[in-house]
């Protein structure tokens, strides 16, 4: 697994990760971070726990490709993607995307791009435990639309 793409069961600490991303880099003038967290309600139902399954090997490959593409499209000094797998509870952190650039626009846009592509291209699947039993989360059209705007 690359230093800047991690798939892990453990939680992460935002400050620690941002410090690592910026370490020794005086050329960085902007850092944008996105943290995705587990909601306790989805499509009107209470979510007790969330299980994240992934495709080991392809997941890391897909995330590295998305990261490389972001570095091709924007002027980034560095970036980091962390995605958790396994059982998670409401309020837990799921995903961290951090982008660092000289000026803010590159970091803002690249962070959005990475998240939009991650949601539609990286092989993760969410399974929710609800009062009616377990169910696999359906892919959303809005996520597909968000990813498609980057190919226009």
């Amino acid at each position: 697994m690359s230093e800047w793409v991690r798939v892990q069961t453990e939680d992460f600490d935002l400050s620690t990760e941002v410090a690592r991303l910026r370490a020794g880099r005086a050329d960085i003038g902007a850092v944008v971070t996105f943290v995705g967290t587990v909601r306790d309600i989805n499509q009107g139902d209470t979510v007790a726990t969330l299980e994240l399954e992934h495709y080991p090997g392809m997941t890391e490959k897909a995330l590295n490709e998305i990261r490389d593409e972001a570095h091709r499209r924007w002027h980034l000094e560095n970036s980091l993607i962390i995605h958790r797998v396994g059982p998670l509870q409401p309020q837990d952190q799921i995903v961290l995307v951090a982008t660092a650039s000289r000026h803010r626009q590159d970091a803002f846009e690249a962070a959005q791009f990475i998240m939009d592509y991650l949601k539609t291209r990286a092989p993760f699947w969410k399974k929710e435990q609800t009062p009616d039993g377990p169910r696999w989360v359906d892919a959303r059209d809005s996520d597909r639309a968000a990813a498609e705007r980057w190919s226009q």
Binding site: L52, Y55, I94, P123, W125, A139
Partner: protein
């Protein structure tokens, strides 16, 4: 030739299997799918009648016309929902 087939998430549960090694003459993913779906209605429903089916060969997104090689890793899965 032999291919290693992986099933993920809801497909894994529907088919009751996560992985199998299959000896096949299928030259493409599409031909492999036809072979798998001939196993019965459960396979037909989960794979061939599934308009949302996603597939990968050697950990790269693939399509029905993607060709197979001996030792290929083929994966079938539903649309992804991470993030």
């Amino acid at each position: 030739m032999n291919v290693n087939i992986l099933y993920f998430a809801s497909l894994r549960e529907q088919l009751g299997t996560a992985q199998e090694t299959l000896t096949t003459e299928a030259a493409t993913v599409g031909a492999l799918l036809e072979e798998l779906c001939s196993r019965g209605p459960q396979w037909q429903q989960a794979l061939c009648d599934n308009p949302h089916l996603q597939m990968a060969v050697d950990q790269t997104v693939a399509h029905r016309d993607t060709s197979l090689r001996d030792g290929a890793e083929v994966a079938f899965f539903p649309p992804v929902t991470g993030g």
